[in-house]
């Protein structure tokens, strides 16, 4: 019985550690910018040219205006959605954007 329990404990620790690491990363990326309520416009920089996986997740949180190189420009993003997307380690930077 020890092995399943130890495996579950290790998995839980790994998972929560991973989530905590993502949370810390998200907070760090948003530390320098003001996040206006209820919605704001942002430029999200990705560590590589974004794929469908990343674009789909960004489309889910706001109006995707443009993908230019490694930057994705989004409008009308709510603060909690911005925090959720900024947690991802593939998002390397977030900046306010004036919008269209």
């Amino acid at each position: 019985m020890i092995r399943p329990l130890a495996a579950t404990l290790a998995l839980a620790l790994g998972y929560f550690g991973y989530e905590a690491w993502l949370d810390a990363g998200g907070a760090r990326k948003l530390a320098g910018i003001g996040v206006p309520a209820p919605k704001g416009h942002y430029e999200l920089r990705v560590a590589f040219p974004p794929e469908g996986f990343h674009v789909t997740r960004m489309q889910a949180i706001g109006r995707l205006i443009e993908v230019k190189g490694q930057s994705v420009f989004l409008m009308d993003v709510e603060p909690q959605d911005l925090r959720a997307i900024a947690r991802n380690y593939w998002v390397v930077g977030v900046a306010r954007w004036k919008g269209l």
Binding site: M1, R3, P4, A7, Y15, Y18, F53, H54
Partner: protein, 272 residues
């Protein structure tokens, strides 16, 4: 009746030898695979080398795709297996114990047993949409039947003499269930769980291919559809490793423990 399988744990050298042999086999396989690539002479799209697959793995991790898909798949699998197990055991016990439940539920369950989950998934997609709910229900369905039938077989093979003895000693129905039937049925439940968990794992791949936009099954499908064969192979390897982990860390220890406790096999320590 008891059979002594092991008087003492195997020595450390023997315990280490088995993984070492496994690792050697893996290295040999990878070397042969890598060596075959120039001989086959096809584009990486058709026949990727282990190095291409490794690069695809690193790419999927760097881009955050693999962790998300892995967590999604594990969550769906764990949820489906847990719900299917609970429902299967409950129905198996009810049908095994109650004649009314047997007559009421058995025809419908026998009917549904013939309809595999593959046939249900398109309907589930229409009812519940793409994603978590559909896959959860499909996996629950897959796990339910092995759990139910194994539990039922277990209940029906409990020696009547044990039931009579408990009843003659004044056991209530609940005590009979808790003290006699459940312990007797547990090895069957574990067998059903092992079978159901295996079926669910195969079901997960299919369900994610048809009804999801994330997960390891979807990665396999998406990789093939987008001519990213190395990603498809990464998905297949992750699937295999995931199953090895589940089997070695959960299923085998629980099965071993159950057999030692309730089966006909025991260790030397238990005999003493």
């Amino acid at each position: 009746m008891s059979t002594v399988l092991a008087a003492s744990p195997p020595p450390m050298s023997r315990r280490l030898a088995r993984p070492a042999k496994g690792a050697l086999g893996l290295v040999l396989f990878l070397a042969l695979w890598q060596a075959s690539v120039p001989l086959v002479g096809l584009e990486p799209y058709f026949y990727p080398a282990p190095a291409d697959v490794w690069r695809a793995f690193l790419d999927l991790v760097t881009k955050g795709i693999l962790p998300v898909y892995l967590i999604d798949s594990i969550g769906r699998y764990a949820g489906g297996v847990a719900i299917g197990t609970v429902l299967g055991i409950a129905c198996g016990l009810a049908i095994g114990i109650s004649r009314l439940a047997d007559r009421t539920l058995s025809p419908a369950i026998n009917f549904l047993f013939a309809i595999v989950e593959v046939a249900w998934i398109p309907i589930f997609v229409i009812w519940f949409g793409y994603g978590f709910k559909t896959i959860l229900i499909a996996l629950t369905y897959v796990v339910f039947f092995p759990m139910l039938y194994n539990t039922l077989v277990g209940v029906r093979t409990v020696p009547q003499v044990l039931v009579n003895a408990a009843l003659s000693l004044g056991a209530t129905r609940l005590q009979l269930l808790r003290e006699v039937i459940l312990p007797a049925v547990l090895p069957n439940i574990i067998t059903g769980f092992r079978v159901g968990a295996g079926f669910a794992f195969r079901g997960l791949i299919f369900a994610e291919i048809v009804a999801a936009k994330s997960g390891i099954g979807y990665l396999i499908f998406e990789g093939a559809a987008n001519h990213q064969t190395a990603r498809t192979i990464v998905g297949m390897i992750v699937m295999g490793l995931l199953w090895l982990g589940i089997d070695n860390l959960y299923l085998k220890p629980v099965e071993r423990m159950t057999v030692e406790r309730w089966g006909s096999v025991t260790t030397a320590e238990r005999r003493e």
